[in-house]
């Protein structure tokens, strides 16, 4: 018997509906994005000029740490989970996720975890100040008291991710509409299936490393303490065994989104669907054997360095295959350049540039000059901001009309795109130069030779921040007073989500659709 959603706050507290939960994840991630962005702007304000003008060095370290933690665990990951919640059941013709109550629980522990993490800013000794990569012993013996709350927050957030991943796999493997074989699934579903396995394999390793930290700090063990026979470098190995697959967790869903958008606006099927699936799987597999490329200067033996160098270089192959396939999708299509397509094309170009700096970083001897400089900061911001963030933005513009039944304003959308595109390039491109010129990471002050690049980056950062406020306005204006959207929204898009009305009804595919 059909009924609408409950009324009031209890709707959101107790909902088991994948659309509601998806919306909550997306709003939560946007809030975290703004919070992490504020931390970034404090950093860039201090780095606008040489000298210490605004913050103390210890607070600056708290800002860089919290910016990283909030963006990685609070913005990017929950945003992808939100998109998965909204879209995966509809894309496979399922009525909801496999475990709807666990789905609710996965979401609601997140605001709790991040409230606790944010509250560390006001604790004695301040927030975590040891970088989002929290190497021991800076994060154990020398950590502020808030480190225990940091560990607790990571555990909770990790549990949320693991539960979400289990839910996604169970949904995809058991609840596809009859006729939807694995090789007929949209690529977004494939990339999320693979990402979910990565999450289950490596989030527990993160839980393990923070547990070992907790034991070293409070229970007298010596995992990472040389005095007791341990080794700080062991921390790095275990952390990066999680950390490298983690960055692929943050980009594989992006590949899926782009693979949905480009074919729609090129009016041409995705080129090389099977290759795209195999390439994604190869990237996921390779991601497990490259972790020590984050540790080239830690004193590993040369045979180890060579192995990790070769394995890391190899990842360029399946990644390149994907870029070529997107280009081939565009080639001889009939393209229009609405906002989602603008963000998607910018993704392909700018993510590829991030990939090039990644390939340069993979060259181990050269990395001795790049490691822990702004060259690395440039690399990962290119793959994460015009990479992951642009793909999420593209996905929001693409699917928002389906979610709320209203079209966004195309002129404003394009304005947002160009402000963001100019903003991120002005912010992050100069970092290649300051890094090559010799500027280390995580410093609040620097010599004059880096001044010009830093000033330019800071201007770009504020521009990019302003663009996000415009984005917020656009989304709210669409929901409140956008023009009514059609069911198809775009011109003949592929996918089951376009066969339901806009806005999508509260319950979709209560009876499975027919798959041809």
């Amino acid at each position: 018997m059909a009924h609408g959603p409950a009324k009031g706050i209890t709707r959101w507290l107790y909902t088991t509906n994948h659309k509601d939960i998806g919306s909550m994840y997306l709003w939560f991630s946007f809030t975290m994005f703004i919070l992490g962005g504020i931390f970034a702007l404090i950093i860039r304000a201090e780095l606008f000029q040489p000298g210490l003008q605004i913050v103390e060095p210890n607070f600056f370290n708290q800002m860089t740490t919290m910016h990283g933690l909030v963006m990685v665990f609070g913005a990017v990951m929950p945003a992808f989970v939100g998109l998965a919640n909204w879209m995966v059941p509809m894309m496979i013709g399922a009525p909801d996720m496999a475990l709807p109550r666990m789905n609710n629980w996965s979401f609601w522990i997140l605001p709790f975890a991040f409230a606790m993490l944010s509250s560390t800013l006001f604790m004695d000794g301040g927030a975590p100040n040891f970088g989002w990569t929290f190497y021991a012993p800076l994060s154990t013996t020398y950590a502020p008291p808030s480190v225990t709350f940091f560990i607790f927050a990571i555990h909770i957030m990790g549990a949320s991710s693991i539960m979400g991943a289990i839910n996604i796999i169970a949904t995809i493997l058991n609840m596809r509409a009859p006729g939807m074989t694995l090789m007929k699934m949209p690529l977004f579903v494939w990339t999320w299936l693979i990402t979910a396995y990565l999450l289950i394999l490596v989030m527990p390793v993160l839980a393990g490393v923070v547990t070992m930290m907790l034991m070293d700090i409070h229970f007298g063990t010596s995992f990472f303490n040389a005095a007791g026979g341990g080794d700080p470098v062991l921390f790095q190995h275990v952390f990066w065994f999680f950390g490298h697959p983690e960055v692929y967790i943050m980009i594989l869903p992006a590949f899926g989104i782009i693979s949905a958008i480009i074919p729609t606006f090129a009016r041409k099927p995705l080129f090389g669907y099977a290759s795209m699936v195999y390439a994604t799987a190869s990237i996921a597999f390779l991601s497990f054997i490259v972790w020590a490329h984050h540790m080239f200067t830690a004193g590993m033996p040369v045979a180890g360095e060579l192995f990790f160098m070769y394995a890391t270089m190899l990842i360029a192959v399946p990644t390149g295959v994907k870029v070529f396939n997107w280009a081939a999708t565009m080639f001889r299509g009939s393209m229009t350049f609405e906002t989602p397509m603008l963000f998607a094309i910018a993704f392909v170009i700018l993510f590829t540039i991030g990939g090039f700096s990644g390939l340069m970083l993979a060259i181990a001897p050269a990395d001795f000059q790049y490691h822990d400089t702004y060259f690395v900061v440039a690399h990962f911001h290119y793959v994460l901001v015009p990479g992951a963030i642009f793909s999420i933005t593209a996905g929001v513009y693409y699917w928002l009309p389906k979610w709320c039944g209203k079209m966004y304003n195309e002129t404003l959308g394009k304005t947002h795109f160009w402000l963001a595109f100019i903003g991120i390039n002005v912010t992050f491109f100069p970092m290649h130069f300051s890094g090559l010129a010799g500027m280390p990471r995580r410093i609040p002050d620097y010599n004059m030779m880096f001044a010009d690049w830093n000033m330019i980056s800071s201007v770009g950062a504020f521009l990019f921040g302003a663009a996000q406020i415009l984005f917020l306005y656009i989304v709210i204006a669409t929901i409140v007073s956008g023009r009514k959207a059609t069911d198809q929204v775009w011109e003949n898009p592929e996918g089951l989500e376009w066969t339901v009305p806009s806005p999508a009804p509260y319950h979709t595919f209560s009876t499975p659709p027919e798959i041809k």
Binding site: N61, E305, S334
Partner: protein, 381 residues
């Protein structure tokens, strides 16, 4: 029209103006440093060559791929009335654009492997230097020469806080540089005292993590005399950005002369330790030591930083028993950021700074302490 100046055609000035503006541009370019330095060691030059090679490979591939995409964006648009094609797979193409990148990677990996093996070869060194990272300074020890010293940032706090104009080597200058000879293979033995640091000098092509409890090797053979500056390259706490490295490479004769001078100075300092100083001598010397080594945390006027570093003005320690005060400076306070300065500062300097702290900013204890008292304290008497 331009007037003739001194009877000479103004156009003769043009080359002068061109050269002048080129020089101005060259200075501008010097400011806008944008690439990895070639450096002065075989390793740094090797790495720079590799870097540029990889860069051009990436530019080449990028140009090709982006050109194809740009072409599509211009010519394959609906607004040109183009009808979309339907092709959506080609096994042949997938094989080609998998195989070609693999070949390119092999071409990249070969020189990279050779460079890495060379970078790792620390055998047959002519001299060894032990480098220890501390929060937040470096210590250098010349193996076999009975010489070791600390090397700390020497940029005055006033420059950092915007109260004085910044010098050209702002944040890249130290009180005691690491002096080494050119044309000798120098092996660096790198470790840390507390947390992980990293010793990095771009011009030498050397970067190595400093891990507490472990020793790691690196090496350099410097081909040109000069001053080479670097920074700590691993987040190590509050002053990670304020512990630079300065290496001064001298000719072999100049290096030997410097070594003799340094050892003589160390001997002289040992003699000074036996001397008795007046209050004014201690206070004046102590003020200089304080500004260099203590003010960054405890404030130029002893005011500290609320919630982080205690004030010394009116503090229980500076106005309490002098023995306890000396102990805090010599041995630090375990579990806090207060380092043990016993090894870093000489007995003369410690006696001076303790005297200064007890009498400055209105503390006015009226007492003082001599270097021999510090020496005795260190011996446990």
């Amino acid at each position: 029209m331009l007037k003739k100046a001194h009877g000479l055609s103004p156009w003769l000035l043009a080359p002068a103006m061109l050269v002048g503006s080129y020089q101005a541009l060259a200075e501008e370019v010097e400011r806008w440093k944008y690439n990895m330095p070639v450096g002065v060691t075989p390793v740094s030059q090797d790495i720079q060559g590799l870097h540029m090679e990889m860069f051009w490979w990436c530019v080449g591939i990028g140009v090709v791929v982006f050109a194809i995409m740009l072409f599509s964006m211009i010519f394959h648009r609906k607004s040109r009335g183009v009808k979309p094609a339907h092709f959506h797979e080609s096994t042949g193409l997938e094989i080609v654009w998998t195989a070609i990148p693999v070949l390119i990677l092999i071409l990249m990996a070969w020189p990279a492997t050779k460079s890495l093996v060379r970078l790792y070869d620390t055998t047959e060194a002519d001299m060894d230097v032990i480098i220890t990272g501390f929060q937040w300074r470096w210590k250098y020890e010349y193996v076999g020469e009975d010489l070791s010293f600390f090397s700390s940032l020497s940029t005055p706090q006033d420059q950092i806080n915007g109260l004085a104009p910044k010098g050209p080597h702002y944040l890249l200058e130290v009180d005691e540089p690491l002096v080494v000879p050119i044309n000798q293979k120098i092996r660096f033995l790198i470790t840390a005292n507390d947390v992980i640091h990293a010793w990095w000098v771009p011009a030498l092509g050397v970067k190595k993590d400093a891990i507490p409890g472990f020793i790691k090797e690196s090496w350099a053979l410097i081909k040109e005399p000069g001053i080479y500056r670097g920074q700590c390259a691993e987040l190590c706490g509050k002053d990670h950005g304020f512990m630079p490295i300065v290496v001064e490479a001298k000719s072999e004769e100049d290096y030997r002369a410097w070594l003799e001078e340094k050892k003589a100075a160390a001997a002289a300092l040992r003699e000074l330790t036996a001397k008795t100083f007046t209050f004014d001598e201690l206070y004046e010397r102590g003020e200089a030591v304080y500004n260099k080594s203590c003010a960054a945390c405890h404030g130029a006027a002893g005011e500290g930083i609320a919630g982080a570093f205690p004030a010394l003005k009116g503090s229980a320690i500076a106005q309490g028993a002098i023995d306890k005060h000396i102990d805090v400076v010599v041995n630090g306070v375990p579990g806090t950021a207060m380092q043990a300065f016993g090894e870093q500062l000489s007995e003369v300097d410690i006696a001076a700074v303790v005297t200064y702290e007890r009498n400055a900013w209105g503390n006015n204890m009226g007492d003082m302490t001599q270097p021999v008292d510090i020496y005795n304290h260190k011996q446990g008497n």
